[in-house]
């Protein structure tokens, strides 16, 4: 009797659980709908360049909502753009070299340099509505997120094994089917990991993009970035801390609710022949997968859309004739359209170059000298911050990596910490700095450190963990001194990882320099001589020739450093210090 009852009880539990989850999913959908309605009303309203952001903690949820929406929309745009760009670059042999070079350069330009052109263009496009300003800010965040996604998708596309491509050709897949069944799945893991970095970069940019001066006009949008900037300006510690706490909360929630489930889900796209032993698990993913409503709804919807598409595509030429895989570029003559596009493109580029040259002529010699000294100062700061990061992260990272127990605890925490935008912590550091009486010259190095050290730390931990234990055993067996251990085992072992971390970090440090060398704190502006500060002031004053030249200088330095130093070290690490035989 009692057995019977327990049985039915457990059955009830089994039955109600999915219903509860279904209701949860339904509620989420409802909330999303309301959010869209609210956002639309705000965007379509008249333009309010300066909305007064109060430091009242009660308005924090609303600000958080606006900021998250901006980052979310910018992220979706980045993803779409990155996939389109990467796809064309990988599949079009003629455009490939150009597109990748352009990507390399764009990636090296600090977000703030995009501010004036992007914002002015958007305001001109939608002059009287809030939408114009909002779109401008969203596009700015977009420029901070998109490049690494595009690189990731491009390199995934190039890495698809030849026989897989051949299979898709011989079985006459349409481009649509190839995209969904081969290319997207193959790129999925790279896209997920880069999305995490991208969204972190988005937060980084958001801090500066919600409130700024352009051509002596003030812009202030409701959001967390403005909130924190205001709090810093007023020296309101309580508001500052609650603002940062909100950001940390959102970052942690994103990690748990979105990234971990996504990582766990994307494991099925691992290109492996044999199943791996360890898995990433996510309770949220398990819950979602149990929701019956979600499963059947999306499944049905997808087949509804998909089947007619396949039926129609099967009648096209593409799926009736086997497409050769080596379409020799020189065989097909370029169409007239192609020539037309090429010539138009070249004309636009020339026109732009001429305009830029004319603009640069306005730069005086004194300004030029100032820019060059600024460039030298920032260059030194960036590299000093890299060196300092490496100095502390290498011993700490190795210690963590060698102890699996410690690594299991520290790594996820470090991952979240790295996702918290360094720009959010700048104000606290700044206020502290002013208290001690230090200047921004040295202080900015500390600020850059905040942004760069995490990348290096992760990679060093990963590198230390990857050193095979038999090598470690050999080292202790032959009684290596600790000097020998470091020079013959540890440093060579982590070298490739260290380089990867430093490359990423150096990009981050350049971007951070713009924020680190110039700040409004406690009712005054502090700055130090540097390229970053010059970009900031040029934006505020609307001094576009200086802005342009400074941006060119940054891009030039980053690209040459990449070519001359990092790429070489990278190659060295791949040839000499690779541990896989």
């Amino acid at each position: 009797m009692s057995l019977q009852r327990t049985l039915t009880r457990s059955l009830v539990m089994v039955r109600t659980w999915p219903v509860v989850i279904d209701m949860g999913v339904g509620l989420c959908a409802l909330a999303l709908f309301m959010a869209i309605v609210h956002l639309a009303a705000y965007w379509m309203g008249t333009a309010v360049p300066v909305s007064h952001v109060t430091e009242n903690a009660r308005s924090l949820p609303v600000y958080a909502f606006y900021s998250v929406m901006r980052i979310g929309i910018a992220y979706v745009l980045s993803l779409v753009f990155a996939i389109a760009y990467g796809y064309i670059a990988a599949r079009n042999a003629r455009a490939e070299a150009w597109m990748i070079a352009v990507l390399d350069i764009l990636q090296s330009i600090p977000v703030l340099s995009f501010l004036p052109p992007v914002l002015l263009a958007m305001i001109a496009l939608v002059p009287h509505r809030q939408l114009g300003i909002e779109l401008g800010v969203i596009l700015l965040i977009f420029t901070g997120q998109v490049w690494n996604l595009a690189f990731s998708f491009y390199s995934s596309m190039k890495a698809i094994p030849r026989e897989m491509l051949e299979a898709s050709r011989i079985y006459r897949y349409s481009g649509w089917q190839r995209f969904w069944q081969l290319e997207m799945p193959y790129a999925a893991i790279g896209l997920v990991w880069n999305s995490i970095i991208s969204v972190a970069n988005g937060w980084f940019a958001l801090m500066a993009c919600e409130m700024f001066q352009l051509k002596n006009r003030n812009f202030e949008l409701p959001g967390l970035g403005s909130y924190i900037q205001n709090a810093t300006y007023d020296g309101d510690m309580r508001a500052l801390v609650s603002g940062i706490a909100t950001i940390v909360l959102i970052v942690v929630a994103t990690d748990q609710l979105i990234w971990r489930p996504l990582i766990a889900w994307s494991e099925k796209f691992k290109f492996e022949q044999v199943e791996a032993a360890d898995h990433v698990s996510s309770p949220i993913l398990a819950l979602l997968q149990r929701s019956r409503l979600l499963g059947t709804l999306t499944g049905r919807l997808w087949t509804r859309i998909e089947e007619p598409v396949y039926r129609r595509l099967s009648r096209s030429r593409e799926t009736r004739v086997v497409q050769p895989i080596d379409t020799d570029g020189d065989r097909r003559r370029p169409s007239i359209l192609y020539w037309f596009a090429g010539i138009t493109f070249a004309l636009v580029i020339t026109w732009g170059a001429v305009q830029c040259a004319l603009m640069l002529r306005q730069v005086s010699w004194a300004e030029l000298r100032m820019l060059f000294t600024g460039a030298a100062a920032t260059f030194l700061r960036v590299n000093a911050s890299l060196l300092l990061s490496a100095l502390w992260t290498v011993p700490v990272g190795v210690a963590i990596g060698f102890s699996p127990k410690l690594a299991r605890v520290v790594q996820p925490v470090a991952q979240v910490l790295a996702s918290v935008p360094a720009t959010a912590f700048f104000p606290i550091l700044l206020i502290g700095l002013l208290k001690i009486g230090g200047g921004l010259g040295i202080g900015s190095i500390a600020l850059m450190l905040l942004g760069t050290q995490w990348y290096i730390l992760f990679n060093v931990i990963a590198g230390a963990m990857s050193i095979p234990s038999d090598l470690k055993e050999a080292a202790s067996l032959y009684k290596f001194t600790s000097w020998q251990r470091w020079t013959t085992l540890i440093l060579p072992g982590i070298f490739p990882y260290l380089i990867t971390g430093m490359v990423t970090a150096s990009g981050g440090a350049w971007n951070a320099s713009v924020f680190a060398e110039y700040a409004n704190v406690q009712n005054r502006t502090i700055q130090t001589n540097g390229l970053g500060a010059q970009i900031d002031t040029a934006t505020a004053d609307g001094n576009f020739p200086i802005l342009l030249l400074a941006t060119i200088l940054v891009a030039l330095m980053v690209v040459t450093m990449n070519r001359l130093v990092w790429r070489r070290l990278y190659r060295l690490s791949e040839t000499r210090y690779k541990l896989e035989g």
Partner: protein, 463 residues
């Protein structure tokens, strides 16, 4: 005796074809060739102009050493790769415009790891716009046929290699291809699994369970070819060309131990080990290019240790043995043994006649010496016989800093080999050069160096 046995086992394809002019070819290749244009006007010929037809009702095996363009040939015939010259016809229509119906079974299986077994098999049907219900029914039937019922919702990574290739077969057959292409389908599998799958393939073919009218299989395994094929085409290399093309008249099922079988295997070995001589039995011998016309010999990708091992084995067999038997003793595939034989032959340690390998005086001395003397003999033989090694050594001796970049030699090799092959040639040269202490290679700087120079540097920079 031998020739009589051979006549039982094989028959020239050309004469056969002229007897049956009525059979229409499914795929007909007319003077197809493949080359890669080089910036310096030269071009690397991978396959010289070749005629080939595939007619209904036969299993064709394409055999050849590595670098003879077997896979390239398959890809040109299946429409995957466009020939640099010539034309492939599908039922007398140019293949680029014809709606061809073929499948390929790949060496690496090429299954989609994120799709289940069933979804993998369904995917080609989906591309053809077939309704979900029919798609499912046909795929399930095909999975049944290849013995995978019950596995439809598994993912490929959960399956063993043999099972994966069964999925590959199911996917290939579900579209009911007129020609089934197979690119070394069994070489990634262990011996027993491969044997099992081969006999199942023959069974499907014999019972006409599949609507396929022709099977075209690329392999480097001679026994596999003789076991399966109704017709065998042997390719030669530098550039790829047809050495011989004949029918196998041994009735199925074939017995590996039968005399006709072993004689045929022996014959093919002989053809493969004598690249410079046109096979006497081949009636339409295409013109074969003399390898000596080329500047560089193709360095066989063998390790010096392997050469020494082979010579020692030969000494145990009184200095002479049949290559086929040697491979059998060692349980080697032809692709594994031939480079070693080639290398020993190139160095003058070995002579190959009529499929028999016999050790030379130098070879015997080499095999019997102790390690330092061995290296000396190897060095002298290598410098004398191998142009690339001789050139590298001369360049190193001539330059004042005694180093030369790899690029320099890559450029010269690129005139003759494909980029990938040039790289492999350099790698082999480095292995040989290091073993014979002819030169050393600094992998970080990608430069050749004289051995003493490197030692000095190491002594100066070390503890």
């Amino acid at each position: 005796m031998q020739s009589a046995g051979l006549q039982n086992g094989m028959q020239a394809a050309a004469s056969e074809e002229s007897d049956r002019p009525t059979t229409e070819a499914i795929i007909r290749a007319e003077k197809i060739e493949k080359f890669y244009a080089q910036p310096s006007q030269n071009r690397i010929q991978v396959i010289s102009p070749t005629d080939l037809s595939i007619v209904p009702g036969e299993i064709v095996a394409l055999l050849g050493p590595s670098g003879s363009g077997k896979s390239t040939m398959l890809r040109m015939l299946s429409g995957l790769s466009r020939p640099s010259g010539g034309q492939v016809y599908w039922h007398e229509k140019p293949i680029a415009e014809a709606e061809i119906n073929v499948s390929i079974v790949f060496q690496s299986f090429a299954l989609f790891p994120w799709l289940t077994v069933l979804q993998n098999v369904e995917a080609p049907l989906q591309a053809r716009g077939i309704d979900p219900e029919e798609r499912r029914a046909r795929s399930m039937r095909m999975l049944d046929t290849v013995g995978l019922d019950g596995f439809e919702s598994a993912y490929p990574k959960e399956l063993s290699g043999g099972m994966k290739q069964r999925v590959g077969f199911a996917r290939a057959l579900v579209v009911e291809p007129e020609v089934l292409f197979m690119d070394e389908p069994f070489s990634a599998l262990d011996v027993l699994t491969a044997e099992n799958l081969r006999s199942e393939l023959l069974e499907l073919w014999a019972k006409k369970t599949m609507p396929t009218r022709c099977v075209f299989i690329v392999t480097h395994n001679i026994e596999e070819a003789v076991l399966l094929a109704d017709r065998i085409i042997v390719l030669g290399r530098n550039p790829g060309h047809i050495r011989t093309d004949f029918r196998v008249q041994i009735p199925q099922p074939r017995d590996r131990k039968a005399e006709t079988f072993t004689q045929l295997v022996d014959f093919i070995y002989k053809v493969l080990t004598r690249p410079d001589v046109a096979p006497a039995e081949a009636p339409t011998g295409p013109r074969v290019r003399d390898q000596r016309q080329m500047k560089y010999q193709m360095l066989p990708h063998a390790r010096p240790g392997g050469v020494a091992g082979l010579l020692e084995l030969l000494i145990d067999k009184n200095g002479r043995d049949d290559i086929y038997r040697l491979a059998d003793d060692l349980a080697f595939e032809i692709d594994d043994l031939l480079p070693i034989v080639d290398a020993a032959q190139l160095l003058g340690f070995l002579k190959v006649e009529e499929g028999d390998a016999s050790i030379t005086e130098l070879g015997a001395e080499y095999a019997n010496s102790e390690i330092l003397r061995q290296k000396e003999i190897f060095r002298d033989a290598a410098i004398e016989n191998v142009l690339l090694l001789r050139q590298i050594r001369r360049a190193l001796d001539a330059k004042s800093d005694h180093t030369v970049s790899e690029e320099f030699f890559l450029d010269m090799l690129d005139e003759q080999f494909s980029g990938e092959e040039s790289q492999r040639q350099i790698e082999t040269a480095v292995t040989w050069g290091r073993y014979g202490e002819i030169f050393d290679f600094d992998a970080a700087r990608r430069r050749f160096v004289l051995p003493d120079v490197l030692q000095e540097e190491a002594a100066g920079g070390g503890e």
